[in-house]
């Protein structure tokens, strides 16, 4: 039996995986709902395979992946995600998980992936593989942002208003607006919502 730890904060997914693994060669060894809890559970349960959600509170799946990769040991890791932006795709690509499965793909892919990973192979969802290639190309072509512009993009991502951004950077609101329009032109977005959506990709985080 392969012992599996499911790390996902969404109860529906966790319960569904429980049902899906029932009657298979996989044994559900434990569950966790946050990044920190996952690290504790990995230490305690010592699973063979970790099904790891990317979006979790208190330390994302990518944080957990990085920490486990840094220790050079631990279980095989399959990232389970409902969607990643370009920045997350590039990070995941660098950290080389054993598998990546899209929650929105055919659920049969998950079991196929787990089989491959158990056999020592890597299995990346075809859609994720294609999007990662595209993200790499975009990253090569992307205009580079100045440190100030990166700072501003980060603050927009946090949902701050121009007035708050101006206060944080110690400039006037007019200056913030000028900076923002320059960034809009540079990265080819029309408004701050689009900018916030693409922040991860632009900042590479």
């Amino acid at each position: 039996m392969t012992r599996v730890l499911v790390a996902d904060d969404h109860p529906m997914i966790a319960a569904a995986l429980d049902v899906l693994l029932r009657g298979t060669d996989y044994e559900l060894a434990g569950r966790s709902r946050s990044g920190t809890e996952t690290m504790t559970q990995v230490e305690r349960v010592k699973p063979d395979l970790l099904l790891l959600d990317v979006h979790m509170p208190d330390g994302s799946g990518l944080d957990v992946l990085k920490q486990l990769r840094d220790t050079k040991k631990g279980p095989a890791i399959v990232l389970l995600t409902a969607g990643m932006d370009d920045g997350q795709l590039l990070i995941a690509d660098k950290l080389e998980p054993d598998g990546i499965v899209l929650k929105t793909s055919d659920p049969a892919h998950l079991l196929e992936c787990m089989e491959q990973v158990r056999g020592g192979q890597r299995w990346i969802d075809p859609e994720i593989a294609e999007r990662t290639r595209d993200a790499k190309e975009r990253a090569l072509l992307a205009p580079s942002l100045t440190p100030r512009e990166r700072q501003l993009v980060e603050l927009v991502r946090q949902g701050l208003r121009n007035r708050d951004i101006a206060a944080q950077l110690g400039v006037t609101e007019g200056t913030v607006k000028v900076y923002l329009h320059a960034i809009f032109d540079k990265v080819g977005v029309d408004n701050r919502t689009e900018l916030a959506m693409r922040a991860g990709e632009l900042l590479g985080t």
């Binding site: 997914i13 029932r22 929650k103 208003r161 121009n162 007035r163 007019g174």
Partner: protein
């Protein structure tokens, strides 16, 4: 021809006030010397001649400058010197330092203070004191010199001069001073900002027409609108309207005149064709009027006003203020729009996150369950009970989505009482789902809350109840809501073991709750004791739109 009442006749018309004052004073001099048998004490013929000349000069000057701002500015300095010379001559011819016409010095002093700044007022005062001394001493000659009276009169002159110099200094800072918020209240935000800025400037100057052209800084493609006869039409220019940075100027294209103020406060007389792009101004429809520079955080341009019934030199200062005011209106509007856009963007991002967290995750989970059931069919598993469970979950999710969509369909705000009613429905559903007793109440529900908060509340209640049951084993959850000033307060009380799980596992933090509360810029505190857990969440009502 429009009727000008006394108030509007002299509003922003200091030139007219000075000219009229000069006429009245000169007439008063002539009449009082004629009536006073003891005057003129010296050179009677020359004095009458001078006074007659001065009356004619004063009337002629007033007539010339009454409706001509260019001549008013052009002749201001020469007239000023003539005033001072006449003052000296009158004092000289009417008993020197004891002259009853001594107070005439007020006219040149006042006109310097009104027209120019403190430097010119000070120079005038110094000149007048010197002239008074000279004239007084010349007349005194060998007669008995009344030192006391001379000192008292010199004192009058110095004190009044000092007051007027002060007035001259402070006149520079006496801006129109208006708050943009006040303007918003007066003008409203229904019109678009360019029209509002023009309408505001037209109202202040009583101009019949106005235009405002703007371009992004460093760009020369200007665009804007023209308001004339209550109708707006777009205007464009591919060149700057002014060739030099000038805060405000009066122009007359027919006579090729342009009057502005130099940085040292003196008038600058120039040919309009030299400093102004006359073709563009003419295309806009203006022949004579006021042009003022407008700057905003990102744009620059010009405000042009024409068909002004009583255009005068004072409009230079007024124009500079209106230019600043128009910039402030546009900046203020941009700020409000950015705030609204920001709030809308935050709501969209938040909604996208909610849809992702609930609907997408649920559907993904449902697909996993279907896959599990399909596999179970082959291996003879408990298909029927799994299908029943999936059906229950789908029906529940359907109700959640319906509530979510109905909240989105609403206006920007809803009554807290309505929100509480919906949360009660949700509580009934959650009670059934978790087999617990779940109640919702409100202590002060006559407030309005933004839609965004209602969506947050629904998610928070779902997560709080799930936490209470899963981690604390609670069988009863009571939720109480209320509004205190600018804060929405929610208390969730349950009879579970709190975040110390009953099975002895490590304490669990309410991460998902905390994350959502942080996103809404609220605060969360947790008090836990055996058999009672109290979760207190406060969310700001402002900024949650």
């Amino acid at each position: 021809m429009t009727f000008s009442g006394p108030q509007s006749m002299f509003k922003y018309q200091s030139g007219r006030v000075i000219a009229l004052g000069r006429v009245m004073l000169s007439l008063l001099f002539l009449v009082s010397i004629w009536l006073d048998q003891s005057q003129p004490a010296q050179a009677a013929t020359q004095t009458y001649g001078l006074l007659l000349f001065y009356v004619v000069f004063a009337i002629g000057l007033a007539a010339l400058c009454w409706r001509n701002w260019w001549l008013d500015a052009r002749l201001a300095a020469p007239a000023h010197f003539i005033d001072m010379a006449v003052f000296t001559a009158i004092v000289f011819s009417t008993n020197g330092y004891t002259s009853p016409f001594f107070l005439f010095f007020i006219l040149p002093l006042l006109s310097a203070a009104i027209r120019w700044g403190w430097r010119e007022t000070m120079l005038t005062a110094m000149g007048l004191v010197l002239l008074y001394l000279t004239a007084g001493l010349l007349v005194a000659g060998s007669e008995a010199f009344e030192l006391q009276r001379f000192i008292v009169r010199s004192g009058h002159l110095v004190i009044l001069s000092a007051i007027l110099i002060w007035f001259g200094i402070h006149q520079q800072f006496a801006r129109l001073f208006f708050g943009v918020d006040e303007l918003d209240r007066r003008l409203g935000r229904d019109e678009e900002p360019l029209s509002r800025a023009i309408a505001f400037a037209m109202e202040a100057t009583r101009a019949g027409s106005g235009a405002l052209l703007l371009a992004v800084v460093d760009d020369h493609r200007f665009a804007g609108i023209r308001l004339t006869g209550g109708r707006a039409r777009p205007v464009r220019a591919d060149q700057p309207l002014m060739r030099e940075p000038i805060a405000a100027a009066l122009f007359d294209l027919r006579r090729d005149h342009l009057l502005s103020r130099r940085s040292d406060g003196w008038h600058r007389f120039a040919a309009a064709s030299k400093l102004l792009d006359a073709d563009v101004v003419r295309d806009i429809g203006a022949a004579q009027g006021l042009i003022a520079e407008v700057r905003t955080g990102t744009e620059h341009g010009w405000l042009v006003l024409w068909d002004i019934p009583d255009l005068g030199v004072d409009f230079l200062e007024l124009g500079a203020e209106l230019g600043r005011g128009a910039g402030a209106i546009l900046d203020h509007d941009a700020l409000l729009s950015a705030t609204e856009e920001g709030a809308a963007a935050r709501t969209r991002l938040s909604l996208a996150r909610d849809v992702h967290d609930s609907v997408v995750q649920f559907l993904a989970g449902a697909a996993f369950r279907v896959e599990a059931i399909m596999r179970g069919t082959h291996s003879g598993g408990q298909v029927e009970s799994d299908l029943k469970e999936l059906k229950r979950l789908l029906i529940e999710e359907q109700a959640e989505i319906r509530a979510f969509v109905s909240a989105l369909r609403r206006d920007r705000e809803l009554e807290l009482a309505e929100a509480v009613e919906e949360l009660k429905t949700l509580a009934t559903r959650l009670a059934r789902q978790w087999s617990i007793d779940c109640r919702v109440g409100a202590t002060n529900d006559d407030a309005s809350i933004p839609i965004r908060l209602q969506l947050d509340l629904q998610q928070l209640v779902r997560e709080a109840v799930a936490n209470a049951v899963r981690h604390g084993g609670a069988s009863r959850v009571d939720i109480d809501l209320g509004v205190d000033q600018d804060l929405l307060r929610m208390q969730v009380k349950d009879n579970g073991s709190g975040f110390l799980p009953t099975n002895g596992d490590a304490p669990v933090e309410p991460w998902s709750l905390k994350e959502r509360v942080d996103r809404a810029h609220g605060s969360l505190s947790l008090f836990s004791e055996p058999g009672c857990t109290n979760l207190l969440i406060t969310l700001p009502l402002a900024g949650a739109a």
